[in-house]
Symmetry: C2
Subunit: 306 residues, 2 copies
């Protein structure tokens, strides 16, 4: 008999990743291939891969993480900032028609959060806030065990929480957003000011680990900015766990210890007493694990309905 | 036969209010008396009042709102900033033993929010954020129809969301909290700067309504500060409704129209498209209505369990 599996797919601007995930959220195998340019080609490529897998496994359901806002109830991709041609695409309907299995679509950060919450860094948590630090700053809320989407499915935009009344202009056109302070390009700009030359994030991380004081100062500044937004998160949502993912997590101890110190200093005592702040532990696989796990949850929900 | 009612009690620093609330959340009658100084006297006074009411009504359950942090699962008052002697008081257990009816204890702002959500300004809402503007700035989250308490029951502290990286020192000792900008005393200080003399909040509201430009400028400044924290709330929680209560709500149109304009300008478009921002509509009765309604919910929950 065929092994029962769930597929978790992560569509990125550069690569598409497909993961074979067990019912309990274990990543059994993964494939990576370059993202085709056209939407139709992306969909065709995924269908042919899934059909190939169906010849070898009993594929129960499919979860797909998208790099942009998604109406996850109806499985509609609203748009993708870095991939053209994805306005209001009924992706769930398209794939369910082509593949004849249940399909769950959500934002990739939500799936990342779901994976870290259930199998990763969050450990035993009830209310968990995940943050991804990259070119953009993304976020996801897992409240009382479930992804919290908000009223129009736009919750978790931690990157666009303002941390100052004025402040620098953000890509979203507002002023003072967290992302306008700690997005990768802003950190690199900060480092350039300190070092009087261009320094990559990788170099900055390595230097900080070797106790370079200038590099440490840059990460501490980043931590100070982050602490303002995360103090708001702690005082508003009172999570028990904050998971921080993305490339910046590689900066290691300097950032983390400063961040913890500042949040404890700024936020309400009762809310920080048992608060855990940790780096994500599933790395780049969290998206496909979360997508596969969400797919498995969807079949359980369907089973309950019947 | 006796009429079935629920009691909603609001213990404030100055007065204790008792409301008789119907199962559907209608306030049938209310009593107000001064808050005794000693904790034991407060408890005795409430017990004698409730026992008196029990001779005339079938009192099904009791809800009590407290002006401070509460462990609402166990009904324990953690402490009250403005009333001494309330550290870790098992209020639910005390009253249930003395009164022999189910007792629900929660923070007063949570009950205010529950009332506005179900019977007040929120109208049809799924995810609602309530804000009370007074000496302190309080908040409450009603997510997916329920009070969201957070992991250690400290959620909703909107007043302590920082809106600047440094900023003025707050009563909580942190810097840049919203409350340090828009708490009543801060608004009065702002007005004093503009008018070169002491102006009360009431005067400031009346002047703004009479189109006094200086008074309008003060309220616009308050709205600008508020908009920073509420942009964070909108981008993080993506509510469909924000309810604003407390004395400042009397400032009227100037504050509200500027606030809406600024939030629409700053927050993510998709999250503000259908967002309602409204003043609370139940006034000072919201606390007892919410407490009484919570009491009625608790008996329904108990009934379901059986």
């Amino acid at each position: 008999m065929f092994e029962e599996i769930y597929l978790g797919i992560d569509i990125g601007g550069t690569n598409i990743k497909i993961g074979l995930v067990s019912k309990s959220g274990k990543l059994l195998k993964k494939f990576i291939f370059p993202t085709p340019k056209k939407r139709a080609d992306i969909i065709d490529k995924i269908c042919s891969q899934v059909n190939l897998l169906k010849t070898r496994f009993k594929v129960k359901a499919l979860g797909i993480g998208m790099p942009g806002p998604v109406d996850s109830i109806n499985g509609i991709v609203r748009y993708l900032p870095n991939l053209p041609g994805w306005e209001n695409v009924k992706l769930k309907a398209i794939f369910e028609k082509k593949l004849l299995i249940p399909v769950t679509v959500d934002n990739d950060v939500n799936f990342m959060g779901l994976a870290e919450y259930n199998f990763g860094a969050a450990g035993k948590s009830r209310n968990c806030v995940c943050l991804t630090l990259g070119t953009g700053v993304g976020g996801c809320l897992i409240l009382e065990g479930k992804i919290y989407h908000g009223s129009t499915m736009n919750a978790g935009e931690i990157g666009h929480m303002p941390i100052s009344i004025d402040g620098p202009r953000c890509g979203c056109k507002a002023r003072g957003c967290l992302e306008a302070y700690v997005g990768n390009t802003r950190i690199i700009a900060l480092a350039k000011k300190v070092f009087k030359k261009k320094v990559s994030l990788e170099e900055l991380s390595i230097m900080a680990k070797r106790n370079n004081k200038k590099a440490a100062a840059v990460w501490e500044q980043v931590a100070d900015y982050l602490s303002v937004a995360l103090t708001s998160v702690v005082n508003l949502i009172n999570p028990d766990t904050i998971v921080i993912g993305g490339g910046v997590a590689k900066s290691g101890k300097v950032l983390m210890s400063r961040l913890k110190k500042q949040i404890i200093k700024r936020a309400m005592k009762a809310a920080t007493k048992n608060l855990k702040i940790v780096f994500a532990s599933l790395g780049n696989d969290s998206g496909i694990i979360g997508a596969g796990y969400a797919a498995s949850l969807s079949t359980r929900k369907n089973a309950q309905k019947k």
